[in-house]
Symmetry: C4
């Protein structure tokens, strides 16, 4: 299995998933009250669209940073990558559910939708950490990384497995706060990518 095709398929899935978010934006010209009232009632869809677009976009950036470390594409690596893509692909659904619940306004529905949304993101974080663990295990085996370096890297990279459940807990109190946190976390990861500091060759390398 070549790394190129692993990247091509993952890029394809992530590109489709991020673009399907737009299907949650729609108006129904048949409904009374005019377009403005409809768009105003649908504000959660627009906020959730921007947040989830950022989230998936940054997952793509991180996916690249992780996969570029791959030396050998083995089965376990393929499995964790598939699990990662499976959780990412649910985000158009959990995003639509959350915005529908927020537009509906029922507190119980909103809490359930928050758990789905945060749960999918936690699933992404867990799959990412397992994928990262598999890749860094390869690096230790080939002597490119020592065990202590791997531990530090995993702690930094695995932070999402704690941060996303915490974000979900906050969402049970305030769903908009969860959305704001999800956007902020994504921007933080984009500009301070784990394992890709300014002096790290992961970003900023010269193109031929």
């Amino acid at each position: 299995m070549s790394k190129t095709r692993l990247e091509a398929f993952s890029d394809g899935v992530l590109a489709v998933a991020i673009t399907l978010l737009v299907l949650d934006l729609h108006v129904d010209p048949g409904r009374p009250g005019g377009l403005f009232a409809q768009l105003a009632a649908e504000w959660p869809s627009f906020v959730a669209y921007v947040v989830s677009f950022l989230v998936i976009g940054v997952i793509w950036v991180n996916h690249h940073a992780v996969v570029r470390l791959v030396e050998v594409v083995d089965r376990l690596l393929l499995f964790w990558n598939l699990m990662l893509l499976m959780f990412v692909t649910t985000l158009p659904f959990t995003t639509a559910t959350l915005s529908a619940a927020l537009a509906g306004g029922d507190p119980g529905d909103i809490r359930l939708a928050v758990v789905l949304y945060g749960g999918a993101m936690t699933g992404v974080a867990i799959a990412f950490t397992l994928l990262h663990g598999r890749i860094t295990a390869q690096e230790v085996a080939s002597g490119r990384l020592d065990a202590a370096g791997r531990r530090r890297s995993l702690i930094r990279f695995g932070a999402g497995t704690v941060l996303y459940p915490a974000m979900t807990a906050i969402g049970l109190v305030s769903a908009p706060a969860m959305l704001a946190l999800a956007a902020a976390l994504s921007l933080y990861y984009l500009f301070n990518q784990t394992g890709a500091r300014e002096d790290d060759p992961a970003l900023g390398e010269k193109q031929p």
Copy 2:
């Protein structure tokens, strides 16, 4: 026809098909009873989503393992590849039909949906075997494989053409059993890929 573009197109179709599975997950905020009742009633959608995601993901892994053996992209090979993609692309439909039938609960509908779901997977297996047969015929012609090796390879690879109809027959008795079997078969193929043993260069080769 370059192999690269054959892979790019197939990866694209498989990536879109696997991501379209999410369109079967949806809630309708207008219905009475709350979000929890709706999600609970839709449990077959979630189970079928996970199973079909695994199925298409492993088809992608196998597709790569087979296509990397291609020496010459000829017309028959393109035709069988197109047939393979045609059956894979129906999986979002057969998945949605099966989960709708399971949610509805009518035994006749469930049996019909089981036949559609298992039928599409059998179609994939047949197209895969014909594609594999075409590629190994090329290998025999170029002396890279002998006739006995091709026969052994075809028997192992063609197992799906027997396994999927058997799985469908079991599904006529119990649809959930069929879904569990489909997931188990996919995981088995992922970790014990036909023609790609641990010592096979198909997986586990060093990346430059």
Copy 3:
């Protein structure tokens, strides 16, 4: 503009368009009469799915055969390629409209849907011929092809601009006959690709 990125974008659009065909296959569990009656009433959707899948698949094969001749990606070439993709992308719509009209059974609606379906395919054929004309003009300019060779090539390649309107005219009498013809033409083009005979390097070249 690199040829690689032109191919990547075109492959992406064709892969999405061919996969979106599946969205026309759907069942509505709420309707009375059971799943079998619904599927039976929707037979045109299944036939049209297979035909349009073949049609777009063979457009992809031909697109590759044509684009590989490109020497210089200029603006006019990009424009005709965009027009080609625009007509191909309408095929999921014209396919859905034709199958809906056939399921509905109104003769006037069927004739109108036939004109839309055949019209989109004629649009594809015209854009393809213009793209091919632009590319062979480049070949003549660079001395790789003489004017007579270009004329012969255009006549063979441009046959679709006559065949698809003829096919549409037949469809006004019998829509199923048009679908059968569309499938037959696609298979003919797949196995006897214009400008890509058995001895032509377009297909059948050795992979490294």
Copy 4:
């Protein structure tokens, strides 16, 4: 981050977004009055489909022309690229909203839909200008471009940030005039691409 994967992901998103435009074309066989009346009432969908297809197609051409200048894929560049893709991805929604409003005929709804449509395109233009500014800043830093050249390039490239709001203002008076302008601007940019004159190597370079 390699430029190749940045292009692959962007190509994927643009290819999906341009193809999703077709989902706004649909007929509902259940409605009375026949197919012709439905298609006639939906004329704005067809016009908007053609215009938005051209718009996204030319965004793709320009995206390529800009990204090929990239020397270093840094975080800010990834961010502006993501913002660009986010606005492009809303175009299937703003297109559908505009055509629904035009079909509905309410003047207030049409004006609001015009603002959404023109607003998304203005967002694309702003993100494009910021992306272009980041890339040309890299070029100045590496000595490939001087400050005056960058200024001239930015003025030409940033024209969209003025043209699209102007186009939107015209749309408040006449939505069809806005659509005609959007198509004309796209064709102008396709054939007279900013920073890619006939003598510019951005287009027209020989393929190996």
